[in-house]
């Protein structure tokens, strides 16, 4: 049942690195992370891997397997043939710390610039009333485990370091959409979605959606509807006001939070 898999794993740090070849035993039902753990335990005790839950729930073990952005703990070895060589590399969009571990602080910096949930201050805790139909959309986006695979994949920043400043990436544009679609939120992030977070850079290629391990329809359900809301506002500011009224400043939307990157 078991066999020896051929692995080619990127080893190195911010300075330099290279692919190294290993042969590691594989048993029935195992995932890539199991095999990397065996590699650690038997041949490379200092191999750096980020992981936590090993159940697809925490979004820590993002890596590129044969060039495909994936979770190591949810990629079964049976999806590959026994003879092929697996090339395992760190996420390309983020700076390497060591081996398969990257510096994802870009994402935390972006998260901190998006104005937080802003409910009507007169609604007391316990008094919120929302219908299931009205929260379904936000709930879909809140399934996000922050694996940053979509961020890693989006071509706007994957090969363009210079765009990182002005583009928040699909995960955080989706966060904006989540708050905008939250029935109890009163801020208006449409202007900043475009101006500070770079929604305009997105040309709806859907690559982000394809790699999302939570199968969130990022492009169709978050990005495109946001684009429509913004187009609607530019055309007629009243169109999208909907039920949100009280806190909304007249001309300009809620500003982005000043960041310290």
């Amino acid at each position: 049942m078991g066999y020896l898999a051929k692995l080619r794993v990127w080893r190195g740090d911010a300075g330099s690195g290279s692919l190294q070849d290993y042969k590691v035993e594989v048993n029935e039902g195992e995932v890539v992370l199991d095999v990397l753990h065996r590699l650690q335990a038997t041949q490379a005790s200092d191999l750096a891997i980020r992981w936590n839950c090993k159940a697809g729930k925490c979004g820590s073990c993002s890596m590129e397997i044969n060039g495909m952005p994936r979770l190591g703990c949810m990629t079964r070895m049976s999806t590959f043939t026994e003879v092929e060589t697996l090339t395992i590399t760190p996420m390309r969009t983020f700076p390497v710390i060591r081996d398969l571990v990257t510096d994802v602080s870009f994402n935390y910096a972006k998260a901190r610039e998006i104005p937080s949930f802003t409910p009507d201050p007169s609604v007391k805790p316990g008094e919120f009333r929302m219908r299931q139909e009205d929260v379904n959309r936000s709930q879909e986006f809140r399934k996000c485990i922050e694996c940053y695979l979509c961020q890693n994949t989006c071509h706007v920043i994957r090969d363009h370091e210079e765009n990182k400043e002005s583009f928040a990436g699909p995960r955080f544009l989706m966060r904006i959409a989540e708050l905008e679609m939250h029935p109890a939120d009163e801020a208006d992030r449409r202007d900043i979605a475009q101006e500070d977070f770079g929604l305009g850079y997105c040309n709806i290629t859907k690559c982000c959606t394809e790699v999302c391990p939570e199968h969130i329809k990022i492009t169709d359900n978050a990005l495109i509807p946001m684009k429509e809301r913004i187009a609607g506002r530019k055309y007629d500011p009243l169109v999208w006001l909907g039920s949100k009224i009280s806190m909304r400043p007249k001309s300009k939307g809620t500003p982005a939070v000043p960041g310290k990157r």
Binding site: G29, Q139, R142, K260
Partner: protein, 642 residues
């Protein structure tokens, strides 16, 4: 390179409160401390937003009464005490039941999006041991919702500081991927700081602070088959012991009845109890729904005796009794174990958990999406079509740091403990859903406790002793400095297997004794493990350091398991199968003296008369001695019987 690897340089920070752990309890504590105006640091071994709480599935228990208006804190209190077999600290169970609804509503005001009832309130679901539908939930990813909400609340506070001070980290900062290895005290024995290393760089770091809140979670990694993540090496339990605090109830380890059993590499991964709450049933290989054979006397009155009654309960809970699949976890885990032992297990050594034949695919997909995903991706099983194979898995430790119920303070001045690392709240067995609510109820209280302690302390801050700091550095560097030695991975793996085999779900005197003598050998091996390589992100080194904690915890569990000669909740002794009212009165308290763990018997706090009166005396007499019931409103009834 050699210089880099053995450098003893230390980064220093100064805070009012240092919270070790970024799970639900740690984040809630930090939010409270910061809201009280204190400069607060949050430290986490993993990235921000990835702590173990993220894995919680089923929900958070709070008697909001949204689904069944008969629910209230008294009913929740009763259920919690019953689940814990009356060993719970009653004050903690009371505070928990009373305050959980406010803490859940607060999460909603911070942006949590729970599933809704028809009238737009937070929906609540059934769970084992809870009399009414009580768990606020989001599908089967409630922990993710909790941690993300608290994470985003921390961010909101940082944004406020961005505006006020131009610096988001002015008053609350997260130090992710940073591991604490020692707590430090001043000569008077008060907390003065915490020492550790930054995983990314391997550099040492010292946080000077008069108050430290331990929120490090559990110990599951000490066992082979577990639903817990790598973080659960019992660090907080060990840090507390090493700092002079006391641990209690360490013999009580919860084995969740339903973990995956196949394929081998995912053995232990949790299958949420919601599967049963939403209609799933347990069957053996003969196709028999066996739980009806295992309802213990103390629960007889509350559980259905026929399949028909059990099935009616899902739609008409007021006129029918609960299905026995929803007994507290310890009962279900033991029953499954008995079926497997009797040869009625599945091909992969579990039993069947079947929801496919009982609910429509649409229902299963909306109620249990992550379970569907998990089985599909990891085991090629479609749970809308086939039954799952499941078996017990190590899930939660009831034992932990002995704390003051109101303030979460330990016996060491300035040290607080909250969440899974604290003890007392859940007695001998935790009810599902009671952990997530525990985290936020006592998280807030710990933040307040730390703030009150600091105001009482005044201007004089306890100072770290240099010699202690030097010792901490030497200890952390040891595995790197040893050129050659055993692999920490091997010692880990064997320790986990031994604990699983000898101090697992079912315990026996001779086996636990063997475990204790094995632990001595493991200690010797741990002292010579070596971690080649550099300091930056070197998992071999991290594993080597974790071993100290795992071994301390393992010894505590084994010692207490050997001492307690009865079976109760998360402690089952083959050689003492019954529950004893005399043992109910005892907490086993562990502390460290030099390198020796000492254990004492301590009487448990008695139930206040008004809390005692919440139960019928006919129920209490199954657990308590006659003397203890003398103050009960129905005490006279006891006399008449004799």
């Amino acid at each position: 390179m050699a210089d880099e690897t053995t450098s003893t340089e230390i980064e220093r920070y100064s805070y009012d409160v240092v919270v070790i752990g970024a799970g639900g309890s740690g984040l809630r504590a930090a939010i409270e401390a910061r809201s009280r105006g204190l400069k607060t640091a949050i430290i986490s071994k993993s990235l921000f937003g990835k702590a173990h709480t993220v894995m919680a599935e089923g929900g958070a228990a709070a008697a909001m009464g949204n689904v069944n208006p008969n629910d209230n804190w008294q009913v929740h209190f009763r259920d919690t005490m019953r689940g814990g077999k009356f060993l719970n600290n009653p004050r903690m169970a009371e505070l928990h039941a009373k305050e959980a609804p406010d803490r859940i509503w607060e999460l909603e005001a911070w942006g949590a999006v729970f599933d809704r009832t028809k009238d737009g309130k937070i929906s609540q679901r059934n769970f084992g041991g809870h009399e009414y539908p009580r768990l606020a939930h989001v599908g089967d990813r409630t922990g993710l919702e909790m941690i993300r909400t608290l994470q985003q609340r921390v961010v909101a506070l940082q944004q406020a500081d961005s505006y006020e001070f131009g610096d988001p980290e002015a008053r609350i900062r997260v130090f992710a991927e940073t591991t604490i290895t020692r707590l430090l005290k001043d000569p008077a024995g008060r907390i003065a700081g915490a020492f550790g290393y930054i995983r990314d760089t391997g550099k040492f770091v010292l946080f000077e602070a008069p108050a430290v809140v331990l929120a490090t979670g559990g110990i599951g990694r000490t066992f082979k088959v577990t639903s817990n993540s790598w973080e659960y090496s019992g660090d907080g339990h060990a840090l507390a012991l090493l700092a002079g605090a006391k641990l209690m109830n360490m013999e009580f380890v919860q084995f969740h009845p339903t973990g995956m059993v196949w394929p081998p590499s995912v053995k232990g991964i949790l299958v949420t109890e919601s599967v049963r709450g939403d209609g799933g049933i347990l069957k053996n290989s003969d196709g028999k729904r066996f739980m009806f054979d295992y309802v213990p006397d103390v629960f007889r009155a509350q559980y259905a005796e026929t399949e028909e009654e059990a099935d009616r309960w899902y739609t008409d809970p007021d006129h029918n009794r609960r299905p026995p699949e929803l007994l507290p976890r310890d009962e279900v885990a033991r029953s499954i174990n008995s079926e497997i032992k009797a040869g009625r297990g599945t091909p992969h050594g579990g039993v069947y958990l079947d929801i496919a034949s009982r609910r429509t695919p649409e229902y299963i997909l909306t109620r249990l999406p992550s379970m569907h995903h998990q089985f599909k991706e990891l085991a090629d099983v479609d749970i809308t079509k086939e039954p799952m194979e499941i078996g017990p898995t190590c899930h939660y430790v009831m034992g932990g740091v002995e704390v003051d119920p109101d303030s979460a303070a330990s016996s060491v001045p300035g040290l607080f403990a909250v969440g899974e690392v604290s003890g007392g709240m859940h007695g001998s067995n935790r009810l599902g859903g009671n952990s997530l609510s525990d985290l936020v109820v006592f998280g807030k209280r710990a933040g307040d406790g730390a703030a009150d302690y600091i105001s009482a302390l005044g201007a004089a801050r306890p100072a770290v002793v240099q010699a202690d700091l030097d010792t901490a550095v030497t200890e952390a560097l040891a595995p790197l400095r040893r050129g050659e030695g055993e692999s920490p991975y091997a010692v880990h793996a064997e320790l986990q297997q031994r604990m699983n085999d000898l101090v697992g779900l079912i315990r026996r005197e001779d086996e636990v004794k063997t475990a204790l003598s094995d632990l001595e050998k493991f200690k010797e091996r741990a002292a010579i493990v070596a971690a080649p390589g550099e300091r930056a992100y070197n998992p071999g080194w991290h594993y080597a350091i974790d071993l100290r904690n795992m071994l301390l915890v393992a010894e505590c569990v084994a010692m207490a398991a050997l001492e307690r000669q009865e079976s109760r909740g998360g402690h089952t002794r083959d050689d003492y199968p019954g529950m004893s009212p005399e043992w109910r009165k005892v907490n086993l308290i562990l502390s460290l003296h030099g390198d020796k763990i000492e254990m004492v018997h301590q009487p448990i706090p008695s139930l206040r008369p008004d809390l005692l009166d919440l139960f019928e005396v006919s129920e209490l007499k199954k657990y308590m001695t006659k003397e203890e019931l003398a103050g009960h409103r129905q005490a006279a009834a006891l006399e008449e019987e004799h």
